[in-house]
Amino acid sequence: MAHGNYSYKPTNAFMKWLDSRLPIVRLVDESVLKFPTPKNLNMWFTFGGILTFMLAVQIVSGIVLAMHYVPHETQAFDSVERIMRDVNYGWLLRYMHSNGASMFFIAVYLHIFRGLYYGSFKAPREVLWLLGIVIYLLMMATGFLGYTLPWGQMSFWGATVITNFFSAIPLVGESITQWLWGSFAVDNTTLQRFFSLHYLLPFVIAGVVVLHIWALHVPGNNNPLGIDVKGPQDTVPFHPYYTTKDGFWIALFLIVFAYFIFFNPNFLGHADNYVPANRLVTPAHIVPEWYYLPLYAILRSVPDKLIGVILMISAILIWALLPWLDTSRVRSNNFRPIMKQLFWILIVVIFLLGYLGAQTADDSNLVFFGAELPIGKLLLSQLLTFYYFAHFLVITPIVGLWETPNPVPESISKAVLAKKNGGAVPVAAE
């Protein structure tokens, strides 16, 4: 634990007795309540709390939905409609769960972008970052499996397209796909196993979250300055300082969540999923959920099945190399004038890819707000995909070596105090 001079002292005979047998109160006290946390965390560091909260929302709402849902191809769609119409508060529980998935992904993307901007992936937090990627992949799998369950047209064809990614594997692809389906196509067997796994994976996520927090508590939190904690003057106890701050931002986040649940519950979904699954007709325009769109654009940018699938998977796995691709000594982009610009360019590229992922699969020119642009959608996705990979593989290592970072402050507490007094931030002598 970073600079944890504090240790728990049981206050009465019973607590002493318990502490020597199961030190659970000590665990909570030392690693949650009194955990020394940098005193300069901003709102971008509250997404860990928001995500933990959303995981709990998804698990609780999911468990109760499973009490009413029927995982069978002839009854799944109707059972979801029954939840919406007949089950007490069923509409609320389902909208909470379906929009909750989207909110979970909004929060995880902001959490990841925070990590990218402030260099939270850099040493000594590489394992923390890698575990985060594992959680993100598990979330993608869970979201996909859950989206299949209502057994509407988008559910069915989404499941078909995604499971067919595996058919791109040479030689054994076909056998693996049939093994995943338990049939010759997505059918009832597939639905039942997807339900089983959709119920399982959130608990696996919870397990990896424990590892993620464990790996966080060894080096302690990163912070907006990206410099190490040098002593107790740089930290405050997690409670009440960050329980309050996280609580405040969870409350604001809940306002956005509530807007979607109560005023626009189908905005992030797709109307075609209110049509029961039909294995003989694919909808004219199938799109994945919004959180997969940039990856979908990368998949479609290559007119070759195997390469498309490999690129799409690599687009995430490449993050795992980032701690070693980033050659800069400085963590926070606050002190990296060039990388800061490149970070925002990357964000724009990801958003454009997402926009292209939602377009129809033809090579017509891009129409943006009614104006036809002189560039084909396919070419644009290829350029953006190229830039996306170049950012990590080429630009990041080179900029890290070539860029001259601005001087970083001497310590967190000095920077905080200087900011409070409106003076110049003392910089570390090097």
Partner: protein
């Protein structure tokens, strides 16, 4: 083993360690197999093997979609022009070269598994695309009047299922054709 492989240092106990770990490893692997294989298609799924279809109601140019092994199958009564278009394509223009005669038992009747070989969507039977066959709207693959891939991301032609003419107007899809009949197994 932590120490170097040196005959003088290898004891009977080392042998027991290796042998017992190996036996346990093989046992573990063997006991995993039922948990893996249960996910493969079950006996009742495999039994959905054949489906009979009466061709007589179809008019020239018509395409119908039927279900076989939970998959959609296109049955298309081709026009003379469509047959000629399919037969006239030079094979070197094809991504997955195959002559039209190897894909049909009778030229008038084109029978295909209606699963795009890209990512499994059903190509749109109301949109014939640039090659008079099918356009798959999901990712833009285009097939010709023989169901061969001509453009877009799909790597292979639409598969031809095994089928057998029971009479002149009845086919049994899923059944192996009689040895005399010529059919290409594909995909």
């Amino acid at each position: 083993m932590a120490h170097s492989i040196d005959n003088a240092n290898v004891t009977r106990r080392d042998f027991i360690y290796v042998a017992s770990a190996t036996a346990a490893g093989v046992g573990l692997a063997a006991s995993l197999w039922p948990f893996i294989d249960q996910m493969n298609p079950a006996a009742d799924t495999l039994a959905l093997k054949e489906v009979e279809f009466d061709l007589s109601p179809l008019v020239e140019g018509q395409i119908v979609t039927i279900e076989w092994q939970k998959k959609p199958v296109f049955i298309r009564r081709r026009t003379a022009a469509e047959i000629k278009a399919a037969e006239d394509v030079p094979l070197d223009q094809l991504r997955d070269p195959q002559a039209d005669k190897d894909r049909v038992q009778k030229p008038e009747w084109l029978i295909l598994v209606a699963v795009c070989t890209h990512l499994g969507c059903v190509p749109d039977k109301n949109n014939k695309g640039e090659f008079g066959g099918w356009l798959c709207a999901c990712h833009g693959s285009q097939y010709d009047t023989s169901g061969r891939i001509r453009k877009g991301p799909a790597p292979k032609n639409l598969a031809v299922p095994p089928y057998l003419y029971l009479t002149d107007t009845k086919v049994l899809i899923g059944a192996e054709p009689k040895p005399a009949a010529v059919v290409a197994e594909h995909g």
